[in-house]
Subunit: 209 residues, 2 copies
């Protein structure tokens, strides 16, 4: 009798566990969101890395030397414009470099997690915290560089700050292109955060909503 | 035989559903988190409003008139330093005003939702999107104002931008205090987003984690 019972219900604990979480019930509700989300996550993180890399390269190659006229002999002296002359741009390159470094690391982690879906949600919940912090840092850097760039372009007559972009055109073009690209990077970071939040809210059961 | 089977297992579909989501199992896990979270949310949103208000007041009251020496008669002319002379500070006051306005509105909505807990989660999931966008805007504004303030404090000898804080001390004190307060405001915004994400991730059932 006992042996027959065991045969019809082999290992009852395991059967109950399986019934509570039937894999074929959860799978269709979770899989497509997770897969699509993971793909979007990887693409956006790679875009963050690529835009940061372009922004850093544009900034580093912005150096421009020019002969500036002066009233005393020899009448022309070479003067160089470099991004290291502005503290705001030093902060900017530091922030964008961190964003690029973070971007390439998390691209690989996210890609790895996409290929092993079981461990994905825990990885994401941790990344989104750093995404938010990095958004604050990168947005502040873009704002700081933008303010300096605008002053360099237009000058400020109230405090006699002369414009410099009429003389250093190559320098200014590189700076403005770099700021545009990292503005795109900070929009990508915003989308990453919104994607994570959307994915988190999708995984909350409907009845608690 | 068939009727006996039905009597021992009445409506098998319903029983399975109830077993999968027992209400007394979810209730104690959700209630305290939601209440504590709601209270923290209201407090942080009020802090955001308060810090934005202080930052705007400090900026608006920063106007300073001074007699500046000039080499020709009458040798002293009155010159006024105002925040409207710097485009970065105009963007800054716009961004901080929006943050303060958003802060006071969402404080009341969040307070209302705290008193009627049933509708709370839906309200929060919508707010966090605007929180993220606003963090980007406010952080960029703080960065822009900070870059201008640093240049006003230290000058930039490479491009002959003179420092102005040695003459307009009252003006500069107000600007720097305003930037500090809104830096605190953007940290509050960051905490708000992290709190929302934490609350969302708490509401995901453990087995799908």
């Amino acid at each position: 009798m006992a042996s027959t019972n065991t045969a019809t219900h082999p290992e009852p604990g395991k059967v109950v566990e399986k019934a509570a979480q039937p894999p074929e019930m959860r799978a269709p509700a979770e899989k497509p969101v997770s897969g699509l989300f993971g793909l979007g996550d990887v693409v956006l993180r790679f875009l963050l890395f690529a835009s940061s890399l372009v922004a850093v390269i544009l900034l580093v190659t912005s150096k421009q030397a020019k002969l500036i006229p002066i009233p005393i002999p020899p009448y022309l002296i070479p003067r160089t414009a470099k991004f290291t002359q502005a503290p705001a741009l030093i902060y900017y390159i530091a922030a964008v470099s961190i964003a690029g470094f973070y971007g390439i690391i998390t691209t690989f982690v996210s890609l790895y997690a996409l290929l092993k879906p079981g461990r994905y949600p825990r990885v994401v919940s941790n990344f989104v915290i750093f995404d938010v912090l990095l958004l604050g840092i990168v947005a502040a850097a873009v704002g700081a560089a933008g303010a300096m760039g605008y002053t360099a372009l237009k000058g400020n007559s109230h405090v006699q700050w002369t414009k410099i972009c009429n003389r250093y055109d190559y320098f200014c073009r590189h700076i403005s292109a770099s700021i545009s690209v990292s503005l795109f990077g900070s929009i990508v970071l915003t989308l990453l955060i919104l994607l994570s939040i959307y994915s988190l809210s999708k995984r909350i059961p409907k009845q608690t909503y």
